[in-house]
Symmetry: C2
Subunit: 190 residues, 2 copies
């Protein structure tokens, strides 16, 4: 070790905080370095590029969200658990806009590390959905439905894309009603 010894974790946490504040697109090495009180080339002792940071941010986000999702589903089951988990998702993504942006654009499923980062949240979804009277193939499809809706809704909220003045919370609740009722309509089928 030598000098300050800024840890890799500190860099990612700092990047997360900054990107949540200014948006992932505006995150720069300059900004991160200033926040850490070092010069930007020094960052290269820890990371290999700005894109590298963004990829680490993606993994960081999925892991952190995984933890929150687990917590949210403790002591509940079935559709109650599903609903709680969806709230946890929404809560995390809208309170961590920058990290969520990274989670979106970089979730290409390429690395082992990425698979590990998402294992928790997929595990929970399986645990919630499998006891229901739904074919295992349909469980996989339903997980995609949920992911699509949750990521899409969060994105639209974060981008301020809902022009209408009506309540966003009501929209989220009603959407969950729709999706859950839709899933119920599938129970026992095939």
């Amino acid at each position: 070790m030598a000098r300050n010894s800024i840890s890799d974790e500190l860099i990612i946490e700092t990047s997360a905080r900054l990107s949540n504040k200014v948006g992932l697109d505006n995150l720069s090495l300059k900004m991160i370095a200033e926040e850490l009180d070092i010069k930007s080339p020094s960052l290269y002792n820890h990371i290999s590029s700005l894109d590298d940071i963004k990829e680490k941010l993606m993994i960081y986000g999925w892991k952190e969200l995984g933890e929150k999702a687990i917590d949210s589903a403790v002591g509940v089951s079935g559709y109650d658990a599903l609903r709680k988990m969806c709230y946890a998702f929404y809560d995390y993504t809208t309170n961590n806009k920058g990290v969520f942006q990274a989670m979106l654009w970089y979730n290409k499923f390429k690395s082992e590390e990425m698979a590990n980062a998402t294992i928790k949240i997929f595990g929970i979804l399986h645990k919630i959905l499998e006891p229901l009277n739904i074919s295992s193939n349909n469980v996989e499809h339903i997980i995609r439905t949920l992911r699509s809706f949750l990521e899409g809704f969060s994105l639209l909220v974060n981008n301020n894309s809902f022009g209408n003045p009506i309540s966003i919370k009501e929209s989220f609740d009603l959407s969950l009603d729709i999706i859950i009722n839709g899933i119920k309509s599938l129970e026992g089928v095939k």
Copy 2:
């Protein structure tokens, strides 16, 4: 007029084509200029910045998608029409990845021009949903549900985010089943 006189439309169409090929993040003025056989500073006679192009791309995309959506819903009604429209959406967004990226990040509803660009697609959704036995407030919420799902699903597909080998088309179909059944379960309520 003077010289070649490259039109604004040509710039946007070229940018659309290029961004679909290389991704919005990799779109550069250099690349656009080369494709048009001019030097990149010359572009500033037509546009004000790269971001300006991206914003125009967003508007271009929503307009084009609006046309396709209208075509898709001709001669059908109710849930059939809804389903057709969803397919048209999916079809457009997955065949125009770059433009769709612009549509996503820039749909902040700020300008009048943006409102005009989306007026068609919202109009269709209203026309499809309003005859159903659903309160007008819920129609607004349902539109948000649909947007979220459609944008989210397209995003995941474009990013290759579905790790599982199971069929994407089946997932889309089943998702529509779920959402439509969910909407049906709301009919007549309140």
